[in-house]
Subunit: 191 residues, 2 copies
């Protein structure tokens, strides 16, 4: 197998395993045995466990960004709606992995915090771009950024809690959840 393919395979396996275990419980042994190779080979491609984790986490971030990318050809409000729907769907489908990524990943390891922060910043930027706020009404950028960032934490938490409920006990639909989130964003920005 070529170097590039092998690397991709290993990252893919990492992403798969992330679904069932928090990131720092991912053992190199489990990975290499799943891939059917020796431990040494993994270290050929990723100098340290650290680097491997970083690759896996980055891949997770990129996947999230790809799956929630708005379709620029549609009206802005629909773009926002669909972006959030995709976001909620993403969390729902891979709840465990997402929590690992978001929380576990962000759990104090500087390198992982950065990947997560960057992913979320990108999402926040996209939202800001979609909001279509007149220049005059804009608060200082830092302020704005902080609020949207925190609002993302709000939506994320809602989605995590909501998707954690058994399907029967969810009182609202994902559509409702997204609608509420958008309303919340608009309201919060007016404070």
């Amino acid at each position: 197998m070529s170097a590039e393919d092998r690397k991709k395979q290993l990252v893919r396996i990492g992403l798969m395993m992330l679904r069932e275990q928090p990131i720092h419980e991912l053992s190199i042994d489990a990975i290499v045995s799943e891939a059917g190779i020796s431990r040494s080979l993994l270290f050929q491609y990723f100098p340290s466990k650290h680097d491997y984790y970083l690759a896996v986490i980055s891949a997770a971030g990129r996947r999230l960004l790809r799956l929630t990318k708005p379709d620029a050809s549609r009206p802005r409000d629909e773009q926002l709606r669909e972006m959030l729907l995709a976001f909620v769907a993403f969390i729902t489908r891979r709840r465990r992995a997402y929590i690992s990524f978001v929380r576990g990943a962000a759990g104090g390891d500087d390198y992982a915090v950065e990947v997560y922060a960057q992913t979320r910043d990108t999402m926040a930027e996209r939202v800001l771009a979609l909001l279509d706020v007149p220049e005059a009404d804009r608060e200082p950028a830092a302020q704005e950024r902080m609020r949207v960032h925190a609002w993302f934490a709000y939506v994320e938490d809602l989605a995590i809690e909501w998707s954690g409920l058994p399907e029967g006990e969810r009182r609202i639909t994902d559509q409702d959840l997204v609608a509420h989130s958008i309303e919340a964003l608009q309201t919060l920005r007016k404070l």
Copy 2:
């Protein structure tokens, strides 16, 4: 040293170390060498690293609850304000440790997730109790709980980002931050 004292000492050391390292980088060796005892002795009191972590994290949670406990003899709105001020102060003073607790702790390890969830639930309950909402205006409890929970994520994120700025670059005071948070809560509940 008595068994009880030793246990407390070890947990105390864990809390201290949490300030500088994420929880899963806490090494048993570092702990025992700080305490001046042998590795075996720690395992006498805590059957596994897991159990030890759990003890440390629980202690962190209890400390947070203790330091943000509202003073029941004061007016409710002041209780809420002071509770949040204490919350922000807590995060500011031990930012690193708090992130470890919140994120690292919540990072997929079921046992830690539970400790964190319980801590946050307690805080959310306190807030609900302080809100003083007429029965008739209450939404279904689950709904209510979810929103307050998510609102906590909002405040937490604001506080973490805010306290991460160098003091010169903080455009607002902690008072402003708390006032904004309370406004946000009241607004969100009306949606």
